[in-house]
């Protein structure tokens, strides 16, 4: 049974697409099982306006499943997103940019127009330049997650999402069955030692490496939050561990929340302040509190500060 996939990328970095390819040989098995990629600018040459550009309307072919990565930052993204919604039976928001705004939504905390203009006034840029506006798409007023603009059937966050999750979604469509996705936090998948509240009152910036015995596995390391680092495990959706330890913890660095909030509507900043407080840490000692929303600044979570 054929499964047509359309892939698009909005304000995307292509990390989700590379994660898709990181399914490795599974891709070949899927192709053999009848998966057909009908549109995917990174991988194949289907064009928006016909193969010789003769069309007038941006067109994406019909597909059973659409994977959209990236948030919507400009008019073109909106156009592509709406066409994907029209043509794909099931629309999946792939990656944290698509589900929650992701890193580019940090721009939502600033005056967007002013900031974009200043990009064209950096120290190495020839003076007198203004924001380009010929044959390039106009920016939207802020960075949007996909579900702020169209109805989305499935949210698959992650920066990037684990390839196993992507494969699960495709298999569930091929086999026409429903999908069970996690709603636990990163801490639930983290094997480290918990000994209770740590001794430090102020948050440690990550200027020194964590304490652990390097001859032993990560499960013998004391929880990083208890060590005094700001670790966003408690306020972040599980999924990166893939059967081992959460990726950042494996590297001995604290989590920064790249799968977005545990609940779709969660506020990672408010939840983190609470998590710090319950560990006896003075949340006011966090430098740049607003960057706790670095992955989930869409949905109005991050706004410019009033002057």
């Amino acid at each position: 049974m054929a499964l047509r996939i359309a892939m698009e990328w909005l304000g995307s970095c292509s990390g989700c697409e590379i994660s898709f390819l990181n399914m490795g040989e599974e891709l070949m098995a899927l192709l053999e099982a009848g998966v057909e990629i009908v549109h995917a600018p990174l991988l194949m040459d289907h064009k928006y306006y016909g193969q010789t550009g003769e069309g007038k309307v941006l067109t994406i072919p019909e597909a059973d499943i659409g994977l959209v990565s990236g948030g919507a930052l400009d008019e073109h993204h909106l156009c592509v997103l709406e066409e994907m919604r029209r043509k794909c039976t099931m629309l999946v928001a792939l990656g944290t940019c698509a589900t929650h705004g992701g890193i580019p939504a940090l721009m939502n905390g600033r005056d967007r127009r002013q900031s974009l203009q200043e990009v064209f006034e950096t120290v190495s840029t020839d003076p007198g330049a203004s924001l380009p506006d010929v044959e390039v798409p106009a920016s939207l007023e802020r960075v949007y997650a996909c579900d702020e603009k169209v109805a989305v059937d499935l949210l698959l966050p992650g920066c990037p999402p684990h390839p196993d999750r992507i494969v699960e979604v495709l298999h569930s469509r091929l086999e026409e069955r429903s999908l069970n996705l996690s709603s636990r936090s990163v801490c639930d998948t983290c094997p480290v030692e918990r000994r209770g509240k740590g001794e430090l009152r102020d948050v440690l910036r990550f200027f020194t490496n964590a304490s652990y015995d390097r001859s032993k596995g990560v499960e013998t390391m004391r929880c990083l939050l208890e060590q005094g680092y700001m670790c966003m495990g408690p306020v972040t959706l599980a999924g990166c561990a893939g059967g081992q330890a959460p990726r950042c913890i494996e590297a001995r660095v604290p989590c920064r929340g790249c799968y977005g909030p545990v609940r779709r509507e969660g506020n990672q900043m408010l939840d983190m302040m609470n998590a710090l407080a319950s560990n006896g840490i003075n949340y006011r000692s966090v430098v740049d509190r607003r960057s706790i929303l670095r992955f989930s600044g869409a949905h109005g979570r991050l706004r410019p500060l009033r002057k």
């Binding site: 194949m44 040459d45 193969q51 990037p160 200027f207």
Partner: protein, 450 residues
Amino acid sequence: MAEVITIAPVTRIEGHAKIAIHLDDNGNVDDAFLHIQSLRGFEKFIEGRPAEEIPRIVNRICGICPWMHHLASVKAVDGALGVTPAPAGHRLRELCQVLAHVNDKILHFFFLAAPDFILGPDSDYSVRNVMGIVKTNPELARRVVKMRQLGQMLLENFAGKAIHPIAGVVGGFAKPMSEHERQEMLQGVETLLDFARYSIDYAKKKVFANYQDVIGALGNITTGFLATVDPADGSMRLYDGVQRLMRSDGTSCDFKARDYDAYLGERVESWSYAKMVYAKTWEEGFSLDPDRPRGIYRSNTLARINVCDRISTPGAQEELEEFRELFGRPAQQTLLYHWARLIELLYACERSKELLEDQAITDPAVRTEAHPRAGRGVGIVEAPRGTLIHDYTTDDQGCIASANLIVGTTHNIGPMNMSVKQAAKTLISGGKYTKGLLNKVEMAVRAYDP
């Protein structure tokens, strides 16, 4: 009849672009543009953020070369906070960086570029892609997929994440390498090295040999080149070194990271969100006229191959000598980027092996402690796409006061426009064009792996 041919989106590239080819009343190419469509503003929204957090924010500039942004960023933060990284940390960073180059090049050559050569530029778009290679050359496809996967897993198993890394930190690296990890990685790298040798042999026999006329002509322009070399012997360096800016006649000057803004300027055109970097220091201004280019130089693989005096690893050095015998120095033909990319693939594998064979890489002292302070640091690495520059200024709290980024591909925006124009002018006349011809124009862009 005058018209504009639109190729949108440009496909099998790592970004968002469209090409517009303007025909005059006789149906001949009057002008052509590569309109870069994306603008996110990283330089601005990292302002005010703690410097030590930046390397795990700016890695998200690119999901294909995140290690490059990650490491240019840690180097810039080191500089701003006045920290010298621990030697083992420095080695681990370089190892991860060259391994990331390996993965990137396998992806580009086999998944993105090869379909044009293996299936043919005129083949139907529905098969002219990696899925088509899976059908026609299943054994090659399987091997390629396995090798790229191996490369990704080597990085992930050691450093936690291959995509959007977090293990590079100010002052060094987040964790040391154990002897067991060193042995495992060495084994994996040997396999990749074997594949790199196979890849360049395969490409020379089965790809480049069959497309000599295309290589000889498509998208060809004359420019200078920018890359990084070892200050002691001018050999190719990907992670650290001095920057060398070469003119089209082969003469060059070297400069240090901190002085980049005395040599390079960025020009803004109204029709591209990506700026165009040019050699301000040549004092000839800026012009994209292919017959009289001014200030124009290229980066990325062909630049690195041209600019270096030699390559420090034996296999790649041998390939470089053969390349230079065939094409001279500096070589200008745009499609030679693909050949140069495979020579670099070999270098990156050999260099990874060199780094892993030295036990010093398992030294547990991987990080020097940093403290917040006001300062400025410029971190430069060779990303696959070109010389990547992260320039940060910090305030007393050690937060970013201002930042300037020149990313690898940006050096090539002007040259890609010139190559597109050259290709379009050569291939299209009298208003006649086909899907295959338009794909060939795209091939002139794909060589740059933008």
